[in-house]
Symmetry: C2
Amino acid sequence: MIRRNTIQRTLVLETLIKLGCHPTADEIYDELIKQHPNFNRATVYRNLQQLCEIGDIRKREMPDGADRFDHTCSNHYHARCLKCGRVFDVDMDYISDIDKFIKNSNGFEFTEHDIVFKGICAECKGNHQA
Amino acid sequence: MIRRNTIQRTLVLETLIKLGCHPTADEIYDELIKQHPNFNRATVYRNLQQLCEIGDIRKREMPDGADRFDHTCSNHYHARCLKCGRVFDVDMDYISDIDKFIKNSNGFEFTEHDIVFKGICAECKGNHQA
DNA sequence: TCACAATTGATATTATATCTCAATAATGAT
DNA sequence: ATCATTATTGAGATATAATATCAATTGTGA
């Protein structure tokens, strides 16, 4: 299965980068069809998956809501605003040795972890006057 | 809106406890209809929601897959086996002051956090050591 | 240019969860 | 206990996120 370069994959990656800040597959799709009305939703999902396999992007699975995709591949944590739903990077070191906090693995082999914060973003905190 | 006690809510809670280990709404539903063929799936979801509001159970949102529900209401973290998909409690202290690791909140008001581990459970690894 | 097969677009399907609404039933008042 | 009120249920529809199927298209090396 040799991977081929397609216009669609390039467009998905470009759109992800253009949108910035962790868009979902559907947000990328909605942006894409503005210029390319026949672009297929499944193609967005398929290419996001492939870009993850290639290593160009990272999938960030959210505890609630749709998966989000990130051009920044370094390990870092995320915070989700409970009002507007947007996802932000958290300015905090990645705890690569978090396993040392685990008292007893009970035979479980830990391979990865993720921390997701929730709260209210600066913008939503400022928008009190409804 | 005064809450009423119903047989259905009792059954949902009993079934959750009986199944143990963080069942999903559908797992509870599948178990329930064995004895109560007319039990409605939406009723399971509605009652799980209410039991969360009451405080009898906790919803544990997983980064992938369906929400899971937990009769243990204390704060603790979870690990999901990448092979069998089951969710286990992690034997590790809850980091209530995790906010101290955050360097700059950028105006974000952090209210909650969750850590989800992934890996391979003891059973799927095929050993029994702790 | 050609042949092969990876990829696409269209569509259907699955999984998770919520909503609508008439019928039912839990609760406090009588 | 009976009644009136209304929260709750069951049935079904709908919403959202993601994947599967498959013929047509297209990228790639020969």
